[in-house]
């Protein structure tokens, strides 16, 4: 222990004596550790701890209904009850659905993103209130009409209610209905959708009061609910999976009208299709790999620096050895120096990371969804990870000089410490190996960023089948308006007419869903006249409910038939417009127009065929899709989006749109107004984040690797000064010396490129699902990566080569 403290003191003193070396080493190490700590903190938040504030969150699994084609769907309340009752491998199942609620009155109220939850929600998640209570056993069995209670988040209580000490028992208004506050849950708990943050929880059974819709929890065909479950102790996911499948099969037999062909699946939250992990999961894994590459480059660089220092200090080691120090003792001294660097680098890296974690916030597209703060600060696991990285870095960096010491012996180093010595030649091979390793990793990082830049470009320039440019979107909420369903339909019609007639507006429409947002939309099971589904065929098709003018506003071409019009009302024959894939798949025999399908016990006649567009994701394949008219299919719990195509820039039209909606009915709330093009950026959010972050990592990797190459070439050139002098004395011209040094540097670069291409190809394959439109035809990305690396390497090699070419032969010959 005494010798350790002695070494520690000496290490600090030695490092302080070499401020340039120490600062370069600390900065690069801090950078590598900061990048990794940052990415790991995101991975931790999104993939490892998707449910912050939940007790034993590892036991929580997502429970999804599985469509015959393998699509993972939400579930019905009655199915939830059955799973809850029948599952023995699950200690409990919870159900929830998110939506914004209005707290207080319309004028001064606050739009609060809330979760309508099953009564056992908090108990199952193990979330303990910091004040009051969560839902009682009685409330957990509640039916419509039972007492309306609400649980607030600590954030809402401290903010909106200004930490009111008398909040418990206080009556608050939610969507104009009185609720009693019964408890406050800690701010660490953010709800059950990964990446979103909720502030209010109310019983699911209050759905009709809050949304004005029919009481769908009694309808097994209504499947709007997310389900989660807690695995019983000592139960595997596999056992739970087998059981929920059995229960689903039982339900399919028992309720064939609603559950036929449906199955069920349980999965870890990190694999669930609901939440940020769906969008960011694959990207985060790629980022983690590239960040690791950056750290390895840093370690190789630092290893090289330490190796050079160790080579330069062979005389010192020799003297120590002659005074009785063993190689082990000297290696311990070297390692202590590396450890001091690693501790310093880790501390600086943590500081930098605390700032860098916010980077992801710059890329979040405008949305009215309550996005959780991904820069959540450091937790135990993050700190442990970062410290472990620092320690591993120290071992990795310190191993090269220590290895050299052990392999060649100090006495040999002392004996041959002069020029052209064999230890120097051996360490040159090691240093070159490290640089090749760095260059291959830099190429790997560059190609990674190239793939994502290309993917981002493709996504941004992709034609989604409609024209989002020039369209302004607004979200409206009628839950506060005292309007019956027919009155709402009339209001929609009037609003559309008013918006269309506004100066500067070319056309306007309303719809339930908007393509390419964070929200996937809704689906319905339909039966098509004359089409016999194959056994197990998924007839649950995605759909939207739209007003007349929707296709014209978004410029979705109609391939056949007509658009909806004002005559398509609740009193007229139900009609529908389907897309081309729908026709190809279900109605291959023309004509499609006039054919019918059955939905909600009503027969809808197809009056038009729209061209396919991208509905949920830019990289989705063709899918059958249908549209129903708002006047015929509107339900009171639907959120409604307004689309206006404007003559000028859409954002300049936002205030006009808002005031016109307010003047149409002051009780109609506007959640958000946003140009469609900005809204759509959600569809390439991952590509955008990936392109930017990976570019940063790629540039860092390139700079570090080039710095490493420069260092090695500069040192190697210095070491070879004598040799260069001999060559010059024998007639080598400056250009030939330049060529000699550059050939060596570029040789290392070429080996690095060859080795770096292999993991890059593997990366491209693994990241394929996170990339858009990047394929075999994008081989130029690899070429460009290699070219950039070569160009940078050329510069890094040219500088020492140029210096070598201008060495005076007399000085070079007498160089020691």
């Amino acid at each position: 222990m005494h010798s350790f403290f002695q070494d520690l003191k000496y290490a600090v003193r030695t490092l302080l004596k070499r401020p340039l070396f120490t600062s370069v080493a600390l900065t690069s190490l801090a950078l590598g550790i900061a990048v990794n700590a940052t990415v790991f903190s995101w991975v931790d938040r999104i993939l490892l701890r998707p449910l912050p504030g939940v007790i034993n969150a590892g036991e929580i699994v997502a429970l999804k209904t599985v469509a015959p084609n393998g699509d993972l769907l939400d579930s019905s309340y009655l199915d939830f009850k059955d799973f809850q009752k029948q599952a023995t491998t699950l200690s409990a199942v919870i159900a929830f659905k998110q939506r914004p609620l209005y707290l207080g009155d319309v004028a001064t109220g606050e739009r609060v993103w809330s979760e309508m939850v099953s009564g056992n929600f908090f108990d199952v998640l193990g979330v303990r209130p910091i004040r009051g209570r969560t839902f009682s056993a009685e409330e957990q069995n509640s039916r419509p009409g039972s007492p309306a209670t609400a649980v607030l988040s600590e954030t809402l209580w401290r903010g909106y209610f200004r930490s009111d000490p008398d909040i418990l028992g206080r009556k608050i208004e939610l969507n104009r209905h009185p609720f009693t506050v019964i408890g406050i849950v800690p701010s660490a708990f953010q709800g059950t959708v990964n990446g979103l943050r909720f502030d209010l929880w109310v019983p699911l059974t209050m759905v009709s009061e809050l949304t004005g819709s029919f009481y769908w929890p009694d309808d097994r065909n209504a499947r709007p609910l997310d389900l989660m479950a807690r695995l019983k102790p000592n139960t595997s996911l596999k056992q739970a999976q087998a059981e929920v499948q059995t229960i689903a099969s039982r339900l399919a037999l028992e309720y064939p009208d609603t559950n036929r062909y449906l199955s069920a699946a349980v999965m870890p939250i990190a694999d669930s299709p609901a939440g940020a992990q769906r969008i960011l999961g694959r990207l985060l894994k790629v980022l983690l790999v590239i960040a690791a590459a950056v750290l390895l480059i840093v370690c190789a660089n630092l290893g090289n620096l330490l190796l050079v220092r160790a080579t330069m200090r062979t005389k010192e080691f020799g003297i120590r050895a002659s005074l009785g120090a063993s190689p082990r003792r000297i290696a311990q001294q070297l390692f202590t120096e590396t450890l001091v660097l690693a501790v310093g680098g880790t501390a600086l890296g943590l500081l930098a990371s605390a700032w860098m974690v916010h980077a992801v916030e710059f890329f979040v597209p405008p949305t009215d969804l309550p996005l959780a703060n991904l820069a959540h600060g450091f937790h135990g696991l993050d700190l442990l990870f970062t410290c472990a990285l620092g320690f591993l870095a120290a071992i990795f960096c310190g191993i090269a000089p220590a290895l050299q010491l052990f392999r060649h012996g100090i006495q040999e180093a002392l004996r041959e410490g002069g020029r052209f010595s064999s230890p120097a030649a051996r360490s040159r091979i090691l240093r070159s190996g490290l640089v090749v390793f760095e260059l291959s990793l830099a190429l790997f990082a560059l190609i990674g960023s190239g793939l994502f830049i290309r993917s981002f470009q493709n996504a941004r320039n992709a034609y989604p089948g409609f024209e989002p440019e020039g369209v302004l979107l607004a979200g409206i909420d009628l839950s506060q308006a005292h309007l019956s369903k027919p009155q709402r339909v009339t209001f929609f019609q009037r609003l559309r007419d008013q918006l269309t007639s506004l100066p500067g507006a070319r056309s306007a429409s309303l719809s339930e869903h908007v393509p390419l947002g964070f929200d996937n939309g809704a689906w319905e099971e339909i039966r098509i006249e004359g089409y016999i589904p194959k056994a197990g065929e998924n007839m649950k098709l995605w759909r939207d409910i739209v007003s007349p003018g929707y296709f014209a506003t978004l410029k979705i071409p109609l391939a056949a038939g007509r658009d909806f019009n004002e005559r398509d009302s609740s009193a007229s024959q139900p009609v529908a417009i389907v897309n081309e894939t729908f026709v190809k798949r279900f109605l291959p025999e023309p004509p499609a127009l006039g054919r019918k399908f059955l939905l909600w016990d009503r027969e809808f006649t197809i009056i038009g065929v729209a061209r396919d567009i991208k509905y949920q994701r830019l990289n989705e394949g063709p899918m059958p899709y249908f549209y129903l008219p708002l006047a015929q299919a509107y339900s009171s719990d639907m959120g409604i989006a307004v689309e206006v195509r404007t003559a000028s820039r859409p954002d300049t039209f936002a205030e006009v749109l808002r005031s016109r909606i307010r003047s149409a009915d002051p009780n109609v709330l506007i959640s958000v107004t946003i140009p469609f093009a900005s809204f759509m950026s959600a569809s390439y959010f991952a590509q955008r984040v990936g392109a930017h972050l990976l570019t940063v990592l790629g540039v860092i990797s390139l700079l570090l690797a080039i710095l490493g190459l420069y260092g090695v070439m500069a040192y190697s050139t210095t070491q070879r000064t004598g040799e260069i002098g001999i060559r010059m004395a024998l007639g080598a011209q400056p250009a030939q010396v330049l060529q000699l040094v550059m050939r060596e540097g570029m040789g290392l670069c070429l080996i690095g490129i060859a080795l770096g291409l292999i993991p890059s190809l593997v990366l491209a394959r693994l990241a394929a699902s996170a990339l858009y439109g990047v394929g075999n035809h994008d081989g130029w990305i690899y070429f460009a990566g290699a070219l950039i690396l070569s160009a940078a390497a050329l510069l890094a090699t040219w500088l020492p080569a140029r210096r070598a070419a201008h060495i005076e032969p007399t000085k070079a010959l007498h160089w020691e």
Partner: protein, 257 residues
């Protein structure tokens, strides 16, 4: 010898013609008032001060002087490893003192064969490759290169060890490789800087015997040394002191050891 003033007044064409004349007269090395001055702080150090020497083809000359006399600086200037601060230097009829780096490199390659005290062989290259090196810079095709290098090694009795690396050879063998390398391009002069300095006495004698043989083969040899015993192997000794030629004398013959 013509005075420097007279030479300095010559036009470039006349300087060229003078070089031509020197060559025709069999003069390989001719310096006119050669100076090398270093600035150390605010002091001017004259390592070589106004040296005029003339060496004819086939001569065996030793440049001798104590440590710090300027003999190594003079050797660097004669070997075109350095350029003079002032004065003129003709090597084999070419005005070397006016040359740029590339021309100097060409001159070193074609006209001068260096033999150094510490051999200065490339540690990682075989004897053969070390000898090939000047031919590489002369642009000689590889086959011819190998053949000529082998012949040069044969001339110093080292052909059997041509694939050995320097650390597999004795000191004398290393110096013989260096001599073969100096000879391989058939230079105008062989410039040896303390060629026995790193060798034991017996090996030193062997090397000097080799120089003797090379001289009798018609090579021009300039030997730089501080050892009078070694200088005596040469036919003429130029004594340098304080950067100046102190004495230029013929060595008594046949008193060589």
């Amino acid at each position: 010898m013509p005075a420097l003033e007279a030479v300095q007044e010559l036009s470039p064409k006349e300087l060229e013609e003078r070089g031509e004349r020197l060559r025709n007269d069999g003069i390989v090395i001719r310096t006119y008032d050669l100076w090398k001055t270093y600035i150390m702080g605010d002091q001017e150090i004259h390592a070589v001060s106004g040296v005029d020497i003339e060496i004819r083809r086939g001569e065996y000359v030793a440049i001798m002087g104590p440590s710090g006399s300027g003999k190594s600086t003079l050797m660097n200037l004669i070997g075109c490893l350095d350029t003079p601060t002032k004065g003129l230097y003709y090597l084999n009829g070419k005005l070397a003192s006016d040359m740029e780096d590339d021309e100097l490199a060409r001159i070193r390659n074609k006209e001068i064969g260096f033999v150094f005290q510490t051999f200065n062989l490339l540690a990682r290259a075989s004897a053969l490759h070390n000898v090939e090196l000047p031919l590489i810079y002369a642009g000689v095709p590889s086959q011819e290169r190998a053949e000529r290098a082998r012949t040069a090694l044969r001339s110093v009795d080292l052909e059997p060890r041509m694939h050995h690396k320097p650390n597999e050879l004795s000191g004398g063998q290393r110096q013989r490789v260096a001599i073969a390398r100096a000879l391989v391009n058939r230079p105008s002069i062989l410039l040896a800087d303390e060629p026995t300095g790193a060798l034991d006495t017996a090996t030193g004698k062997e090397i000097m015997a080799l120089f003797e043989r090379l001289h009798s083969d018609g090579n021009t040899i300039v030997l730089v040394t501080h050892e009078p015993d070694i200088a005596l192997y040469a036919h003429r000794v130029i004594h340098i002191r304080d950067g100046k030629v102190e004495l230029d004398e013929e060595t008594p013959r046949p008193e060589r050891k």
